[in-house]
């Protein structure tokens, strides 16, 4: 791309050289800089991202086409090309489909609940005085700031069958939340919603504040209910913000790892609470099937890429300039 020599030359050129004026796409302000300056600024970022993100992605794809287990890692056996062998093995494994389905449904449940709670509370915040608002904001910031690992341990403790306050409060005796598949997922869902609704709430609240108050007043004077105001006035006006928080939530919840890993102790009894990310990790590092783990990683990557493309299209449609 750029050689050090190039850069050295450009560096000295930045101050001395007159602006290359002939360019068609020249910026509005004429700059006394060479065309290489932006690349110079971008260089550190590109090196780091290229070496530690783009290259690993390439490696991930490569490993997913190889035979790569403990024997190859220790150098006992040569790596051999397997073509789509790993993918065939994956797609014919009923557990994979089960985990994929669980991941999609669980992420969907998390996203919907998080958005509903976040938006409802954002609207609530606009209807109360400063003090209650501050109290909820502070509490939400606390939940937001809590690291995923500690959030997970605390929630497991809260719902502990022997010593937890929740079972006592609800009179559930020694009901174990992590034993059943759905109750374990429900417990993780509660923790995920707890730590991710603040982002939605704060962002949407800021968005509502930016709506001209006359609009909302007019709707209220016309006798619209709070729900109607949200659906017909706020939601359409907040669409750009809602798109961002929705996509962001989808991406976060689809990639969930820590909560499931910690709260269900690595994927639940007999892997009943596995999601794709944990599944890939277990395949690779617990059973040394690195190539199979990589294939799962590639599948996740492609799904998230699809989500991203939808996001980009939505942004484009809103006429946003990158």
């Amino acid at each position: 791309m750029t050689t050090p020599l190039d850069l050295a030359e450009k560096r000295t050129g930045t101050t001395a050289r007159p602006a290359p004026r002939g360019r068609v796409r020249a910026p509005r302000t004429a700059r006394r800089t060479s065309a290489w300056t932006p690349w110079l600024y971008l260089l550190p970022a590109l090196v780091v991202i290229g070496g530690l993100l783009v290259y690993p992605v390439y490696q991930l794809g490569l490993i997913s086409f190889l035979e790569y287990t403990q024997a190859q890692v220790s150098g006992g056996e040569p790596t051999s090309f397997k073509g789509f062998g790993n993918y065939t093995a994956l797609f014919t494994d009923p557990q994979f489909w089960q985990v994929l389905l669980a991941t999609v449904l669980f992420a969907a449940a998390c996203v919907v609940t998080t958005l509903a709670v976040g938006c409802a509370l954002a609207v609530l915040l606009t209807r109360v005085r400063a003090l209650p608002r501050l109290v909820l904001m502070v509490a939400a910031l606390g939940a937001w700031a809590t690291p995923a690992v500690t959030g997970s341990t605390v929630w497991v403790f809260l719902f502990d069958p022997d010593f937890g306050p929740v079972n006592r409060l609800l009179g559930l005796g020694d009901f174990s939340w992590t034993y059943g598949r759905y109750s374990a997922f429900a417990l993780v869902l509660l923790e995920v919603v707890w730590c991710s609704f603040p982002f939605v709430m704060v962002t949407v609240y800021a968005g509502i504040k930016a709506i001209p108050s006359e609009v909302l007043e007019a709707a209220a004077l016309d006798g619209a209910s709070q729900w109607r105001i949200w659906r017909s006035v706020m939601a359409p006006m907040l669409r750009p913000i809602l798109v961002v928080v929705t996509i962001q939530s989808i991406i976060w919840d689809f990639k969930l790892f820590t909560q499931i890993y910690v709260m269900t102790n690595g994927g639940g009894i007999a892997g009943q609470n596995l999601v794709l990310n944990v599944y890939a990790y277990q395949k690779a590092f617990a059973s040394s099937q690195y190539s199979l783990g990589s294939a799962i990683g590639v599948v996740m990557l492609l799904i998230l890429l699809a989500v991203t493309l939808v996001y980009l299209r939505l942004l484009r449609r809103q006429g946003e300039e990158l």
């Binding site: 930045t14 796409r25 020249a26 509005r28 700059r31 006394r32 300056t37 690349w39 600024y41 971008l42 550190p44 970022a45 780091v48 991202i49 530690l52 993100l53 690993p56 991930l60 490993i63 609530l124 209807r127 005085r129 400063a130 209650p132 909820l136 606390g142 939940a143 700031a145 809590t146 690291p147 500690t150 341990t153 605390v154 403790f157 809260l158 010593f163 937890g164 306050p165 006592r168 707890w194 962002t203 800021a206 968005g207 007043e217 004077l221 991406i251 689809f254 990639k255 820590t258 910690v262 102790n265 890939a280 990790y281 690779a284 990589s294 990683g297 590639v298 990557l301 998230l304 890429l305």
Partner: protein, 282 residues
Amino acid sequence: MSAPSSFRIRRPGRLAAEAVTLLVAAVVAFPLYWMVLSALKPAGEIQSTDPRPWTLSPSLDSFRRVFEQQDFGRYFLNSLIVAGTVVLASALIAFLAATAVTRFRFRFRTTLLVMFLVAQMVPVEALTIPLFFLMRDFGQLNTLGSLILPHLAFSLPFAIWMLRGFVKAVPEALEEQAQIDGASRTRFLWQILFPLVFPGLVATSVFSFISTWNDFLFAKSFLISDTSQSTLPMALLVFFKPDENDWGGIMAGSTVMTIPVLVFFVLVQRRLVSGLGGAVKD
């Protein structure tokens, strides 16, 4: 701040809304309250089948145990070094990159921006496998560098994307003025643009700080044999065993791990909210 709100004058409605708000706040804050409370409870009260929401004899035993049995102070320092390095490095690198993509028009600019967006979607955990081999080949396994470098790479795309709005918000006229006044580009960059974008940098750094501070997958995978290089999440899980959890220790460890993030959040929360607004609106 206070918008004219003549349309919300239904008093009973507002009181009910405020009651609900306070109730929700209590529920949201409860897990954190319970965490700190349990960390302060003496051993007998934690392993009690009749948990009470208060304690009359707070003790620091759990904290003492955590710091003595486990080398928690050291892990705390390790976590701080990793997160601190990532925050500083990513702020500087992202600032330069964000300036490049907002203040210049050049070929592949849009392509790059789309790439930064796409890069945010990459599931970090999926890259554990190739990164493990990469770190092994460079002899970085069991070092803090094996945590710093990947987290730097993963926090950059989002940081650049978010800082873009802040850099854009600085009027171009200011730059022209600086040029007319004879300031070099470097001088403009560091003495004018940097201070103006600083609030944005702070908001952005929250995210890189949190993702780095929280990480335990990389720590678990890359720091295999050298526990002296361990970070907090790893150390916390030592107390976390099925069936015989030392809840007092876990809660004390969790408290120690949560407090720095809380402090950081409180310090920057104002900027965080405005920063998010900027990133979202832009």
